[in-house]
């Protein structure tokens, strides 16, 4: 973010004697202009971002209920409980939620990345119905997350469409699989975990493909043509030219994907019907709502929100510092 509001050097075209009104003046920008443009945004930003964050931090130091969130000042007890609280029978566990978030973030990259790059490379060629295929791939991402969740929940429930269909094609042995209720497992060994990953991939791969297609369209054809003249095969061109030039797009997509994974809530909430703990699918966000809202401990819930905020911030800053950093210098 730059505070440089000075208008740039006169451009070449203004020298051609166009209307004086278009000529950028060299006068100083006046304070009321700055205020006029920034204050409305600033007021909204402060009122709806900073104040709530500050209030959340204040609430996290209390152990109040919904009707009296600022009762019982407890200092840092909530935070100590989050990090040192033990696993309790049948209850959501913070570290399970953190593990799930990291697993989902990593697997989203590993699953969606290669598939999306492959499809994007495929769709980047001239072919029939390319527009329609592109649109179809983008559709799942446009569909509301809640609708997607309800749809898959209905498809995957016991005696749902998937079970019936598996039965009919002779795979009766796996038709009884509890896709969304593999109880007693967690993490990578859970069927439910992989089912959720499949749904998330279905939902979000469209966004990756569209981003990659946009990135590919920015790669000049001349480079490919030059390589072709030099006798490079299609695979060599992709590997040596296209993929390296797609790097900045991939890094931005990975950043968005990681942030999305850390904030994951709706899909899990709907697929597990607001009960992720029993199938070991808690994320930090569902953990926050379960112990904060559903159990009416808004102070504890706010403390989790603060922790979630800090973890996401650390991941985001680390990513920017070590990975996105290399793109910033190249842009200009």
């Amino acid at each position: 973010m730059s505070t440089n509001v000075e208008v740039g050097e006169p451009r070449a075209d203004t020298a051609r004697g166009s209307s004086p009104a278009l000529r950028p003046s060299k006068r100083k920008v006046r304070w009321f202009e700055v205020a006029g443009f920034t204050v409305p945004a600033l007021v909204v930003y402060v009122a709806f971002v900073f104040v709530p964050i500050g209030f959340g931090v204040v609430m996290s130091l209390h152990d109040g209920s919904r009707i009296a969130p600022l009762n019982n000042f407890v200092g840092l007890d909530n935070f100590i409980n989050i990090f040192t609280g033990g696993r309790m029978f049948g209850q959501p566990f913070f570290w399970d939620a953190v593990r799930n978030n990291f697993l989902i973030a990593i697997l989203s990259l590993l699953l969606q990345g290669p598939i999306a790059i492959g499809i994007a490379l495929l769709l980047n060629r001239k072919m029939k119905f390319r527009g329609i295929v592109r649109m179809l791939i983008f559709v799942p991402w446009i569909v509301s997350e809640v609708i997607t969740g309800v749809m898959f929940q209905m498809l995957l429930m016991p005696n749902g469409a998937i079970a019936v269909w598996l039965e009919r094609i002779g795979l009766g042995s796996i038709a009884g699989t509890q896709w969304l209720a593999d109880i007693g497992t967690g993490g990578l060994t859970s069927v439910t975990f992989w089912t959720v990953m499949a749904v998330l991939t279905w939902k979000y791969i469209g966004m990756a493909i569209i981003l990659f297609l946009a990135g590919l369209s920015g790669i000049p054809d001349e480079l490919t043509e030059a390589a072709q003249i030099d006798g490079a095969s299609w695979w060599q061109i992709q590997r040596k030219i296209t993929l390296p030039l797609l790097g900045p797009t991939v890094r931005i997509w990975a950043f968005l994907s990681i942030i999305g994974s850390f904030q994951l809530f709706d899909m899990i909430w709907i697929l597990t019907r607001a009960n992720p703990t029993i199938v070991g699918m808690d994320t930090m966000a569902t953990y926050m709502v379960q112990v904060g809202m559903s159990r009416d401990r808004v102070g504890y819930g706010s403390a989790i929100a603060v922790v979630l905020f800090v973890i996401t911030l650390i991941v985001a800053l680390t990513y920017q510092r070590f990975i996105l950093n290399r793109d910033i210098g190249k842009e200009s």
Binding site: V39, R66, M88, G90, Q91, G176, I278, S294, R295, D296
Partner: protein, 440 residues
């Protein structure tokens, strides 16, 4: 040249915004909207309830109008909200924000205790008419009664008689004891019928089974001690899980019950019973209306069609031989209204009118279970009046355990019970979880 915006200016601006924001928020004192008219010639009462559907919506509006007519100068503003939204969001926010209504829906239990502890609700002991005093105990917190009940929603078994008779059973076979229940399950299974539907994914419908085995297994004093003091040391709390394990071992629940929802659509537990895919479900009396709605939608009938009345019946949870709990107690919910601490005197009078015998009789005539036993006769004959008779014969109505313990303990308890029912742990694990949840 760069324009420098001084940091001090931003801080000043932020502080101003914060001040303005807090001024807006702090302007309303609790009960503000309520007492507005009290100083003038009229009194205004705001009343929030959860009866969004007909005929209840018009009924409460009529009751409010009657009260206005009988008390000149009093205006009653009635507003209906969807139950969960009202309970979890709208009402707590209004109370926290100082815009609470004068009269509002109350569910008793831990939430009400929190309201009492924060001085939000009024003690209604002096306004409660004799016939509803028994049911009003559900709203007792310490020495006061902080809610006026108007209906009881007992838990029991809803049976699809078509399936029941297919298995060669009749109404005379409605089980008296747990062994009778098991016998009926065997007959249903032999006839190729799923005996029981459970909406396990929602948590509480599965947990209701454990509430019942606990009610049957835990002596009354120990049960109350657990609710008030978080003391779950009685052997009965272990027996409750063992008894439930015996029930689970009969394999009578629908396959995949852990992933089945309770009340939404034909594939839910309620849908399975009314659509003839499972013989029975353990559920509160509201299930009758839920099942009717699912049936009418699936069969393309009018929304108010009553065809399901022909084949749905109700029987109470059976007795358990040799169990230590009160055999005559019944598990269920009590719906009522509470009054805000700053509400005018007329608000409590409105509640007395709501539970007057006349209003209770008309309420019962719509097929609801009244809290005034004198109004029970007004109910049309059917499964709901059977349930009302069971309530009338019960020694007490124990509030749903999760409600009674409050959301901080109740939600965690339901999770622990579902984990136990899914084979994740033993009876001691449930008790340990309850004890540490109750300790906070």
């Amino acid at each position: 040249m760069k324009t420098k915006i001084r940091a001090g200016g931003i801080v000043a601006l932020a502080a101003t915004v914060a001040l303005v924001a807090s001024a807006c928020g702090g302007g309303n004192e609790p009960g503000d909207g309520a007492t507005n008219g009290a100083t003038g010639d009229g009194v205004e009462i705001t009343w929030w309830h959860n009866g969004t559907g007909e005929p209840l919506l018009s009924f409460w509006a009529d009751v409010a109008a009657e009260f206005e007519d009988a008390n000149p100068g009093v205006t009653v503003n009635v507003q209906a909200f969807q139950n969960e939204e009202l309970r979890d969001t709208i009402l707590p926010n209004a109370i926290a924000g100082g815009t609470a209504p004068d009269v509002f829906q109350s569910w008793g239990g831990g939430e009400l205790q929190d309201y009492v502890a924060n001085g939000v609700v009024k003690d209604l002991t002096d306004f409660i008419p004799e016939p509803v005093a028994g049911a009003a105990e559900a709203f007792r917190v310490g020495d006061g009664v902080y809610g006026m009940p108007y209906t009881t929603l007992p838990s029991g078994f809803w049976v699809n008689m078509n399936l029941w008779e297919q298995a060669g059973l009749t109404e005379a076979d409605f089980p008296e004891t747990l062994d009778d229940l098991f016998t009926s399950w065997e007959k249903l299974s032999d006839a190729g019928i799923v005996p029981v539907a459970v909406g396990g994914v929602d948590g509480w419908p599965a947990a209701h089974w454990w509430y019942w085995t606990a009610l049957r297994s835990v002596p009354t004093e120990a049960f109350q001690a657990a609710i008030t003091d978080g003391d779950f040391t009685d052997q009965g709390w272990i027996d409750a899980s063992d008894l439930l394990q015996t029930i689970l071992d009969k394999n009578a629940f629908n396959p995949g019950w852990q992933a089945t929802s309770a009340q939404q659509g034909a594939a839910s537990a309620s849908g399975m019973v009314v659509m003839g895919q499972a013989a029975m479900q353990l559920m509160g009396t509201w299930d009758y209306g839920v099942m009717g709605g699912i049936y009418n939608e699936a069969e393309g009938l009018d929304a108010d069609a009553q065809e399901h009345a022909e084949f749905l019946r109700w029987f109470p949870f059976p007795q358990v031989d040799g169990a230590a709990g009160d055999p005559a107690a019944i598990m269920g919910g009590v719906d009522g209204f509470s009054v805000h601490a700053d509400a005018p005197e007329e608000a409590a009078k409105l509640l007395a009118h709501i539970v007057s015998t006349d209003v209770q009789q008309r309420y019962a005539a719509m097929g609801n279970i009244p809290v005034d036993a004198g109004a029970t006769d007004s109910m049309p004959a059917g499964p709901l009046s059977d349930a009302a008779t069971a309530v009338a014969n019960a020694s007490s109505v124990q509030l749903w355990l999760d409600t009674a313990l409050g959301s901080a303990v109740g939600g965690g308890m339901n999770s622990a019970i579902v984990a136990f029912m899914s084979g994740q742990g033993g009876p001691q694990d449930v008790v340990d979880a309850l004890t540490s949840l109750a300790a906070g």
